[in-house]
Symmetry: C2
Subunit: 325 residues, 2 copies
DNA sequence: TTGTAGGCGTTATCAC
DNA sequence: GTGATAACGCCTACAA
């Protein structure tokens, strides 16, 4: 790899001059500029980003710390984030933590050592990641960390309400909500939204808690159908659970949506591949990722964000696990 | 952030000594070592990876260049790769190209400028990425690039055979293979495997080509059922297509697997969530990713790989879109 | 065993 | 307008 020195030598100028044309700052005569550019071209020179980072202390490197890229919600988020980061000239490092604190901490160390400019984070470890001890700007995605760490999330409370309202409106009367784990703020909000609707409407309902681990859900769902054969509407806390409910119901000979309506949550792409396709409360996944990156870059470059909290609207996507009219 | 100089000052030694205890090379007296370590601890010092890279010219950074993380096969691959890279002390940068040459080239530039040690690549641009012009070691994953670029792939020819044999063995007599695009080596191999079996057995069959774009497949599949209502076995070139076939069949009132057997390909996790769950020829996805990283690291650290080509076996996963016995 | 000093490839501050 | 040169934080001859 050619260095700036090689270019300088070939162009017959000093490295300072080369640097000036590279960064387009300082004054340099038009003719010498051309000579330098010619040298750059013939040597196929590209500035060494590492050396630049060392001096300027910004790396244009962003970390994405998530539980598991294999979870389709995170997959789509990651795509949006990488797209956006790339568009702004940043490079994205992917980190899977499996929600293990040690891994999260380790990745934070790695990112810091690599002088990453910032980090997007999905974690439950609220206490551990406070702004000051980090040393690098972070934005919390979907799961809040701390009141002074900028945070972006879909409006899950509203999502829960929409799900419940839709089920009722389309004729279900015996509802079940399979909610996510209690320690998840987002699961709690969906649950609250659901609850506020069914309580107000004085509807019969049951609540169950999923671990968000597909393997364990099968047993839970079978159990629900066993104990409460009369239920005719399920709001699942995410699309994967919704799909499991669908599968179990079909397996038991229950017609969907005639005898049982199902609403999922997230709006992952896969939902439409099922038969019947999954009605869902869709998060604006791409938007979430995109805005998260923009918030983070704002934080990095302008050293401040306008709003510490950003909440995006969800949207009902009616497909075939709910009745038409 | 504390620097090595701060540590040296606090410990009352020179930076060289600190460096020696950091890297555990050179001789340093036990007592001074302890003093240095104490200083490191109190300052919470971590060596700056950027400075290290600049000097040593290896960054422990790996690039993963893939078409789209949103494709579930790539998602699971990425997880395996990140896991493995991390285990070996490498950091993984994710790059989505959408199979656009300009993006691929741009990411290669970025990786080079960041002094990435190597790169895993899934691309169709065979001609473009020859070893020499790259400057960094690469390993081709699933899609070959060039005979002298190390390459790892599942045994797709065998996979195609297995799919065809299974369908026949379980009683299908009118087969369809929805194959992947012609420019994909891996699609071609599956097709050949399928072909060799049905030709040898003198079975009636039809071949159709999918673009691997879910949106376009729906029309194709409906068309197939329309024109050839007699078919009773489908081998889809990947699980997503298989799922679309399933959906369309169910929609048309065709019983699966009684009237129509379906076999997918890849073995993505999602396949088991469908009802009926998808029988598939599973690639050893995690293994593929893991070994790809190991090959790459070998290339980086030992400057050579034993075998330029690595082919891993596939495995039939019998689920519910094929008949029992 | 330990310290000094030069260099990795840039950028920026001075002079000229 | 241009050129030395001192950083950035680290590592490693080479000396001592």
């Amino acid at each position: 790899m050619a260095t700036i020195r090689d270019v300088a030598k070939l162009a017959g100028v000093s490295v300072a001059t080369v640097s000036r044309v590279l960064n387009n700052n300082g004054n340099v005569h038009k003719s010498t500029k051309e000579v330098v550019q010619a040298a750059i071209t013939t040597l196929n020179y590209r500035p060494n980003e590492i050396a630049r980072t060392l001096y300027k202390k910004n790396s244009r490197l962003l970390g994405l710390i998530i539980p598991d890229i294999t979870n389709p919600f995170f997959t789509e988020l990651a795509r949006a984030i990488e797209d956006t980061a790339h568009r702004y000239g940043y490079t994205m490092v992917l980190c899977n933590t499996d929600e293990i604190l040690e891994k999260e901490q380790h990745y934070m160390e790695v990112l810091k050592q690599r002088q990453a400019d910032g980090c997007l984070m999905i974690t439950n470890e609220k206490a551990t990641f406070l702004d000051e001890e980090l040393g690098i700007p972070i934005v919390a995605l979907d799961r809040p960390i701390h009141s002074h760490i900028p945070f972006i999330q879909a409006d899950h409370y509203q999502g829960g309400k929409i799900a419940a309202q839709t089920l009722l409106q389309k004729g279900s009367t015996q509802l079940v909500h399979i909610r996510g784990p209690k320690y998840l703020d987002s699961a709690e909000a969906r649950y609250q939204g659901f609850l506020d609707v069914v309580e107000k409407e004085k509807i019969s309902y049951h609540i169950f808690e999923s671990s968000f681990q597909p393997r364990n859900d099968e047993f839970l769902i079978n159990n629900i159908f066993e104990r409460f054969p009369e239920i005719d509407g399920v709001f699942a806390a995410n699309d994967v659970i919704a799909v499991s409910v669908l599968k179990t119901a079909l397996h038991r000979g229950i017609s969907v949506p005639e005898d049982l309506q199902i609403i999922g949550y997230d709006g992952i792409l896969f939902g439409q591949l099922f038969y019947p396709s999954i009605t869902t409360v869709a998060q604006p996944i791409y938007q979430l990722g995109k805005q998260a990156v923009q918030m983070l870059i704002n934080l990095i470059e302008k050293k401040e964000t306008e709003q510490k909290i950003c909440r995006l609207p969800v949207q009902l996507v009616e497909r075939d696990t709910t009745r038409k009219e």
